[in-house]
Symmetry: D2
Subunit: 337 residues, 4 copies
């Protein structure tokens, strides 16, 4: 922590700060410039409320030096974390493709989708049984019935399942059926839920909040990891900006930034990040070119009849075409699909 | 819903859309302009996935006409909702002031704060027992112990209590102690939690998500109300923008906009909306001038020692000064404090 | 400037930085923490490219300490700047009201508007002769003809004129007619234009860019002032955010923030900041309550026939009502209108 | 244009709107739903102020149907525009690479950079002689001296030049030396400048405003084109969002979106879009994978001594590595570099 004093700050104000920090067993380094004094704080001060320090008399502002995450930080674990599900490894050389509909709607819909996406080369099946919808009047998902359908489809296709869990009390139920638990964008800072999934032994797909910074995403991973579960896959799924032509703005920079900051695998959701099926292929190729370890893509046998997210869902045929093109880009960056 | 076709759209594409809508018992009105055809959809189509319609061949985009909220809408209830707690009425002539620390830290801290804010004219006491913190390593709140402290303070001061509930499984516990349940900004779209508090008989203080639109705020109110609990107070607490000099950007426009769109009371949190105690007074006066029905303000006897939010907390003396000035503005707009 | 080194930074890297800074006659203060080394730079280094320093080996990031503005800073001039136009003083006790149509459309329109707004208590007349329009096909303003109309209206009403100048080569022409030059939101960082108006002796109304931070606004004021013209009035007119219900988001926090950072007067444009006439009154009262030194408001005798900005323009009758209510709020904060 | 009436709208209000539109020779189509009436407007109404219509009694909101751009629209010109400079074609199969320093600093710096980037495969040289800097105290560029240096370097290397022009009065001067004129992000809506470059016969590199929508970018292209100059290359260079880890957020979605909406070539500036040299390679590959027709990249022989943008500039060796990797991605999407 660096404390930058106001131009008019007085010596007793500076002394009060030093005293306060000494009380917390922290040393200080004082640097008096022509215009301002700067106090460097030495020691681990992650516990001190920066706001409280900023509130002391004579302080202009407080600049953090230490990154607030540790378990998720590449500073503390340089080598990549690898997470294996049914032999498919997130964080390895292969780009892992998860595909399927937004919502589980029926056994037929899931089997048809699964068959298609498996044939096209997908490694895992996605599908929502519990759906976070903006409106209480929209379809809320099939619940356990939907989970059972997915488990049946897994048996028949050997495609393992990633599905969203929305509340702590659903965690046990979803764990009975799912192979990977998804935390949705609206729940990225639902700390009760993060703590709950942190106590399971399932890999977690943690979606970035549409309103969350990269650092906040890593802090949410830190919540899960500090509960003992280190198998976290991060997912960039588009952020909310002033641009409204697309549903969200894919923050493609987040991929190489996360690769610098953390050892955890990073995947991209090009469906939500664009909101329009015509843009999904370009976004998928961009994600792989930028270094993504995987993609999660919405595919529906008949998007115009989908219960949700029809606009951004690919038909199976388009998905197959996408896979061919993504494979080429993966090879160009030294990877496979 | 209005469906705007592409310039190149063909007659069979238009016919397919009409047929699809008829299947849902919806009528259409076709308007063929010089460049494009537009299909107006007649009937209540809140249930149809707009994305699926947008996905049909030949469609350029889909424009919703009906607002997606009903229970919260002033179109359906023109008169203001009034919510009374201990004789203090949200949505009436008086501007209701809630004040207190970010976190409950001790009996002494709460009693001292409560005594001060009551004397200065506050109507309710705020304080957090369960704290949503970005970092798992930060103070997470005193839990039930904190709730008990607040209940004790209520007995001694007759200040009723608003406090945050973070998870569905905490709802019963918090209801035992609190007079009003707060849904925090990170939980505005935690639908399991909205459903849970919607089943209680407590008034709800629903904070706007820091990157949620006004319409999404009203949809979250709709979730609570559709569970039977119509006593919802909306809270503008600042939104996240590119401007980083302040912690958040107070969206002061939201106050008159909400007053137009909904009959629910609207309060403002000037502490989070600015993040700096020196700005809280100006923001409070602006909120009341713009028509807010209440304020929720962070006050701490010793902000430089606060466990959280020290930078934006007022000392009791400053809060008392603020109350005098806010009262004058309230009178200027025909209200009292 | 504070240079924060990477955790893995090596001694020669630190030495290279010190050497580089010494070449620029800057001293350093080294603080070695448990995890990282921090280099404090002593002396005025506003000229050094921070990016270049950030680029040196071993550097994690660079934090500026000195604010980049001087002439506009309250640190260097504590007392408020007062700017008088025709006896109306920006930055004094009175809240200065400028009102008029978006575009000058005809002599009749301007005279009718001017008569109304003067009667209601406005101090200055606004009107655009050169209009920055998003579309090349929209009305671009009457040009010099419009300026002449405003000058005529000034003669008849004694209302002085504020009008926009869009290009350096228009500055001389506009100066012939106008009493105050407006720099529009899209030109806040048009440095050729800032330099040009900085060489005139006219007061400048500098609108904040819809995409600009508070600090950038002050840096643009600094451009004008460094050319010799210190009579700059800053204008908050709404910023672009994700919220689209309103045309812009009025950043009401900017008013007290600017009052802290600068001695220059600060006014608010509630018309552009909301984009809807029904919200202008609430926004105006909020601005005055927050400490604004003035308001600039769009008024049109017949908004439904306006060539531009009809949606946000007030009819004269509504403006007169607004003036009565704004006056009350001004008095509540110890000012007059 | 579609006019959506309020729920409470009355027949005379609807009739007044129809009458007003008929006065403008526009026909209407009335659709009366259960809750609201909708008025479809038939005919070309690009000239009517939508705000004025929204201001009429009983109107809830106005939805545009026609896109506001014509010359730039793919609806009116389906085939790609190709722009050739010195045999390098924007909009063709090849991805055109422009590279060079942020600022021209000296003959030596430019020759060294040019030699390196040419050898690595760049097709054009970038460099700034007039620099838009946030601070009036920062280096403002070498002016004509810088242009002369670039022209000399062109003679020696056959690399053609793209450089920024900041004001209408500079256009003639810059045209004397440059092969392509750049409009910078802060000037995207400097309409006097757009009109001026629209009257030249030079190709224009139009950078997207850092907080401008895709539609506004196309409207600015429309300004240039409506002056007769149709040789416009659009440049996505990152937008301003809440995420501050990177200097800007590369809106990679804009690439395929622009490819849908317009026939103009689209290039990406990965240097400004990230602000950090370590991210430039990933962003470049993503841009090409998403379909960009070119890249403009900052390269400096010694970034730590650069007068500007040092943090985001690549050293020549890194640029050469980037070119090899970008070439592979280009081939994967069926193109060359």
């Amino acid at each position: 922590m660096i404390i930058i004093m106001k131009m008019q700050a007085k010596t007793p104000q500076i002394e009060a700060i030093i005293k306060r920090l000494e009380k917390e067993n922290l040393q200080t380094n004082i640097s008096s410039g022509e215009e301002r004094t700067i106090i460097g704080v030495i020691g681990d001060h992650r516990q001190i409320d920066k706001g409280a320090m900023a509130r002391m008399d004579g302080v202009d502002r407080v600049v953090p030096v230490l990154r607030p995450f540790k378990l998720a930080s590449r500073d503390f674990q340089p080598e990549d974390t690898k997470i294996s599900i049914n032999g498919h490894v997130f964080g390895g050389n292969k780009v892992v493709i998860m595909a399927g509909p937004c919502s589980v709607e029926s056994m037929e819909q899931m089997m048809e989708t699964a068959t298609h996406v498996k044939k096209a080369g997908a490694s895992m099946l996605r599908g929502g049984a519990f759906k976070p919808r903006t409106s209480p009047y929209s379809f809320q998902g099939m619940g356990e019935e939907g989970l059972k359908i997915m488990a049946d489809v897994r048996k028949k296709t050997d495609l393992y399942i990633v599905t969203e869990v929305m509340a702590p009390e659903q965690v046990d139920l979803v764990c009975k059926y799912a192979d990977m638990l998804q935390i949705g964008t609206r729940n990225m800072q639902n700390y009760a839920l993060l703590n709950a999934v942190g106590k399971t032994n399932k890999p977690i797909l943690l979606k970035r909040g549409m309103m969350s910074t990269i650092e906040e995403l890593l802090m949410s991973a830190e919540y899960i990891m500090s509960n003992g579960n280190h198998r976290v896959v991060l997912c960039e799924r588009g952020i909310r900006t002033f641009e409204k032509y697309t549903r969200n703005t894919l923050d493609i920079n987040a991929v190489p930034v996360l690769k610098e900051l953390t050892h955890l695998p990073v995947v991209v959701d090009p469906s939500h990040a664009t909101g329009k099926w015509t843009l999904v292929k370009a976004a998928s190729k961009a994600a792989v070119a930028a270094g993504a370890d995987g993609l999660i893509i919405e595919v529906h046998p008949n998007p115009a009849e989908a219960y949700s997210d029809g606009e951004q869902s690919l038909k199976p045929k388009r998905f197959a075409e996408l896979m061919v093109e993504v494979e080429r880009v993966a090879q160009a960056v030294g990877r496979s699909v």
